[in-house]
Structure formats: C-alpha cells, structure tokens
Amino acid sequence: MSEDALDASRAEAPPRRSRRAWLVGGIALAALALGAGTAWYHSRPTATTDGAAILGLVLPDADGRQQAMAQWRGKVLVVNFWATWCAPCREEMPQFVRMQSRDAGKGVQFVGIAVDDAAKVRDFAREIGLNYPSLIGGFGAIELSKSLGNQLSALPFTVVLDRDGRVALSHLGPLKSADLDHLLGRLLANG
C-alpha cells in the first residue's frame, strides 16, 4: 500500500466521538436484547404450554362434592397449590380472595388445590372467608404440581391458564399482587 492510500484511509476513519457513540449504542442494544431475552425466559411456562392436565382434573371440594376443572374452561384460571401447614401459602391467600371478588365479573376464576385434608381446609376457609373453591388434592397434588413445573415440590405453587387453556404462568413462591394484577390484565385484554 502506498503512503498516499494510507493517508486517505486515515482521513476516512470516523472521528473518535462518533465511534464511541456507535460503541455505546451497540452495548445499549445488546443490553436491551438481553433484557428482552430474560423476560421471555422468565415468562415462558417451565413445563408445558398446554393446561389440559389441569382442565381434565376432577377432585372433591372441601364438602366432598366432585368438581371438574373443565367447568371453568374459558375463564382466566388461577390454580393455587397450597396447604394449611404452609405459612407463606396462608399469608398470600387473602389477596386471592380480594382479587376473586374484584375480578370474577371479568372472567377470572381462582381455584385452590390443597395438599391437605378436607377438615383443615374447611377450618381455614372459614377463617379467611375463602370465596373460591379449594379442592382436596392430598399429597397426590404434589405429583400433579411437579408435572406442571414444580420440580422442587414446594408450596405455594401457582399456575395461571389463559382463556384458551394455555399455561401463561407456572410459578413457585408467593405472588406479588401487582405482578398477578398485571398478568391477569394482560390475559383478560387478549381475549
């Protein structure tokens, strides 16, 4: 390469300020992509996107009546696995009671599945004024929750189905009411 060509290429190189702008822009874009990727990763259902395993269930309620989950097909369905021996479960349920009475008219249905026996569920339901059904799953419900993504078999564990029966959330641990509000709002808006 001649001396002249070298000079010309130097002259065409962008000034430092603009190169830095590109660099910063690139990092910003990468950060955005990472954030969006993380969002997708966290929001994707961990087990299956098909809620058929839930909608096909028939379990007794606390009064011994058999209840088919299919009766709530077409609703935005919040299925909460809980137990009376689980303090964090008991703590988060009053917020579900409030949301059920607020959103029932919009097509939201909460259903509890208790890893527990009927007498204890009845007592606790009375204590907090439970306004949605809690079905009695016993310890078999732990296996059911595992098949829905609860690999650790811990409680509380909550699955949200959209109106088409797809799993929109499969969540271990207490739910913040703001997070659940946001998700329910989105699912109701979609259908």
């Binding site: 689980c86 310890f139 078999s153």
Partner: protein
C-alpha cells in the same frame, strides 16, 4: 461531558432492559432454591449399643419445625427422644413455634441394647425456606448398623425421599 451523556444513555438502556425483564415475567423461586433433601440433610449413627444419634444439617436460609419432627426405629423400637428446644419463631397464623436452623442433633434411646444388629431409622420432618416456600412433610429412612464394640459407628446419610426424587 460527552462521556457523562454516554454513561447516562447506557444506564438508561440497561435499566430499561431490566425493567422489561421484571414487568413481563414474574420471576419465580424455582432456580434459586435447594431440593428438600439438600436443604435438610439427614444422617445418623449408632453412638453405642442402645443409642442412635440423628442429625439434620440445615442450609442457610432454611428451617425445620420442631413439632413436625418424629423418629422411630424397627425392628427394635425407640423411646421418644428429647428434642432440643430450638429457636422461637413468631408466625402470624401458627403463633410462637420452635424451629431449628443450621443443625439439630437428636439422641434416640433404643428400647433395648442391640449390639451387632442393623436398625431402620424412620425420620419425619417438615421445613421451609425464608424466601417464602415450604416443603411437604418428608418421610425418610436410613439403615444404621449398631456396632458390636462400645465405640460409635460411622454416620450414614439418607437418600432422597419419595417426594423429592
């Protein structure tokens, strides 16, 4: 000045990105928690011909309930062990409850001396993680050889229980 502007726009983009992650997905605890048999590790040994020692090693941030802890042995039975007092924890629903953190060691007196035999220890326990999940009652068992000599036998560890395999 230009560098400050760059730093600001970068910080804005990063916080925006983090914001998306929080708003869209609801981060669960699945990835950050231990399976129960790792959070609460049961082991036991024979102290002598008529005493077993069971211990739970409890991971940081986890606890076991004292009133959910039970031990029994077969074919030779055991007397009810004296459980350590534990730490008092106030629970909004359960009131004051006794819990164990870090470790709990329990001496289990056998109904009769059984040198040179093998016993099955059945342990029931139930615990939670401070972040707000509880594990179901966890029945575990392990096989402990009672030494023929007066010296303690080796510790044996429990395999995963049926709920957590």
């Amino acid at each position: 000045m230009a560098r400050l502007a760059d730093a600001c726009s970068l910080a804005l983009a990063c916080s925006l990105a983090a914001g998306i992650a929080v708003a869209q997905g609801i981060p669960g605890l699945q990835k950050s928690l231990l399976p129960a048999d790792q959070a609460f590790r049961l082991s036991a040994r024979a102290l002598d011909a008529h005493t077993l020692e069971a211990r739970f090693d409890i991971a940081d941030g986890y606890y076991l309930y004292r009133d959910k802890m039970r031990f029994r042995t077969d074919p030779i039975s055991a007397h009810d062990p004296a459980l350590p007092a534990g730490e008092r924890k106030h629970d909004a629903f359960f009131g004051d409850v006794a819990t164990y953190r870090r470790e709990v060691v329990v001496r289990i007196p056998l109904a009769q001396a059984a040198p040179g035999t093998t016993l099955t220890l059945h342990a029931d326990s139930q615990g939670c993680a401070d972040v707000g999940v509880c594990y179901p009652p966890n029945p575990q068992q392990l096989t402990v050889a009672i030494p023929a000599s007066k010296y303690p036998g080796p510790f044996v560890e429990a395999a995963g229980s049926k709920w957590f395999k």
